[in-house]
Symmetry: C2
Subunit: 381 residues, 2 copies
């Protein structure tokens, strides 16, 4: 038996924007590693943190963005603004940026990647989808070789939790209150329960898989707000269960983009996921590849962020590791949205569908050879 | 909606050693990509191939290894020799090497990685475990951040096929013959059915996860040769099924290394895998991460090989992308081998165990908090 040892790389200095659960997870993981160092952290009230951590805090972003010793900016503050503006400023200062911010990436991803290329820096966001799961990396490995036809997954832990509570007979409102009390749901839960969190992640997944950025608000997005315990109970009696599923499909000249509560047999992989567990699959000529793991949590999310930092340390600066598949880019100038349904009926909301029985909802992975048989094409807006 | 386009990279010239199913898959995938080109291929009898493919063939390795225009050598001939010797020669010529050869990597991995570092070239082997699944990449992303405690998986498709046939009542010998007739098993099936194929892959997984290379022949390796239809039938009646599972655990100063047929409830993820499907999981502080997909097949395996080539094109030459986790290397100078069992009994072979009923075999993922309760430590040889 042989033990392998590596040489030590030079130090990388990190500037943290934000110091919540994920930011503290990043500090924790970085502190256990050689070669990485958190130089400064941006918080609103430095006086609340100073002295409690071995990191200088500041409330002035310029202290970090203008520091010539800082190599990589890690944005973990969340929200669109000022996060977007600080990322733009950091790339303008020729610093690479790593973010966990799905809202910013879903909205401004192509622009920020383009700014990063111009600055010959990296803009990486593995943590923005699937928390600690290396899903964007797995996707990009695949993308470097053969085209991806479908990407789908369960990418929201809050709805897993609420659906599981309802499956045990708790009402939607009770289940939501419980999720909020335990910190699994925000006080304003709409991003999770109305499907927008899943939709943003699907924009990012589809954007990487198909090289086309779909505005989540143009897609078909349905959450779980209209589902209640009675639906889940009825489904369970029939041997089914429900998860909020996000799925994008590539078609000639169009991309199907759907987030919807979807019904599966109880032994389906999605129904083995509980709480923050996520699963994401993609279909290519090589078959389905699935990746599952912790979709949230400070340490889990920090593993993806620190892995991105490692990629930056190892990559040639002007070649963005997430985008190296030029040959499958195509011009997608129009988007259709596809939902599995009876072609004779208008697209129903799922809660209505449930009232007429779950049997007609076709699980996406059971799509027959000729999809036109059961697909209903829905032209957006 | 925006379409993203990338610039085109310069051409990478590839020399193929071997032109079987995987080699042809590599040519197929490379031919569909810009920036990659198969310059020459080594085969035993060039006259059988010349003119059928748009590639010059040769039976002389030096024609490829000494060609200054070739940047990357892809070894897909299989077997220990001359594959190992040609890889050594390629690294000596300062060419990066990508291989799918688990036998060579399991036996000579550390030496070849060391030679690659000296030559400031890459030696990558994503395709050697899990075929088309980006599992080594996922492992290395994780490794760059937090230590991994356990790695396990179903990594052999031939035994999936034979166990499924036996589960339907076919005898072991019939099932094996059928697998051979369909090309799922070799004429000499021992590498698959006796567990050595799985063991070699486990050596590679454990080597990356724990930075210590376990000689598979020192581990506890048990195949499926002594299992028969009656065992599978009895298990199924009790709601269980069987898969050949490879599992390595990190303990202070030791590594547990086991390949064994293992019993699971029918709804376990392993029992949803059929034919060439593989699943590999790893446990760290961030929880379990699982990755599943096609573990064999020409195009699937080629996706991993071409992804490795892409990594080489993008990496800084003297930093091996698979090994960037210096802080968790430790000196492992002794190996214990751990198997879940009753601590009062000597380690039984599984076929004997089955005769006394499957209930006592503890599925590895259900390990209790205090493993000493159920673990039996077995000192190898």
């Amino acid at each position: 038996m042989q033990a392998l040892r590596q040489g030590i790389m030079e130090n990388t200095q990190i500037g943290l924007l934000g110091f919540g659960t994920v930011g503290q997870g990043v500090l924790d993981v970085v502190n256990r590693r050689e070669g990485l160092h958190v130089a400064k952290a941006l918080v609103r009230h430095p006086e609340n943190y100073q002295g409690k951590y071995a990191v200088p805090f500041t409330s002035n972003p310029d202290d970090i963005l203008s520091d010539p010793d800082i190599d990589v900016i890690v944005e973990v503050m969340g929200g669109l603004h000022p996060a977007y503006d600080l990322i733009v400023a950091a790339l303008g200062q020729r610093k690479s940026v790593v973010t966990a911010n799905k809202a910013v990436v879903a909205r401004y991803g192509p622009e920020l990647m383009s700014r990063a290329r111009e600055a010959r820096q990296n803009f990486l966001f593995e943590a923005s989808v699937g928390g600690g799961i290396p899903v964007l990396d797995a996707l990009s490995q695949h993308l470097s070789t053969v085209p991806i036809h479908v990407v789908e997954g369960v990418v929201n832990g809050t709805t897993n939790f609420i659906l599981d509570q309802m499956d045990q007979g708790m009402s939607y409102h009770h289940a939501l209150e419980r999720a909020q009390a335990l910190g699994f749901a925000e006080q304003d839960p709409s991003a999770d329960v109305d499907g927008w969190d899943s939709a943003r992640k699907l924009t990012i997944l589809a954007g990487l898989a198909f090289h086309a950025w779909v505005d989540a608000e143009e897609g078909f997005v349905e959450g779980i707000r209209q589902i209640d315990a009675e639906h889940l109970t009825r489904l369970r009696q029939m041997g089914f269960g429900m998860r909020l599923v996000a799925r994008a499909e590539r078609h000639p000249g169009s991309i199907g983009f759907v987030v919807a509560p979807t019904v599966y047999p109880q032994d389906h992989r999605y129904l083995q996921l509980h709480g923050s567990q996520n699963a994401i699959g993609f279909l290519s000529e090589a078959g389905w590849t699935w990746i599952e793991g912790p979709g949230a949590g400070g340490i889990a999310t920090a593993t993806s962020i620190v892995a991105d930092i490692q990629r930056i340390r190892m990559s040639v600066p002007d070649r963005n590791p997430l985008f190296f598949s030029p040959s499958y880019a195509e011009n997608v100038d129009d988007a259709y949205f596809i939902f599995m349904d009876n072609p004779d009926k208008p697209l129903p909301h799922i809660a209505d569908a449930l009232r007429s029985g779950p049997g007609f909802i076709v699980a996406p992975h059971k799509l027959p050879e000729d999809p036109s048989i059961i697909q209903y094409r829905y032209r957006a807006k």
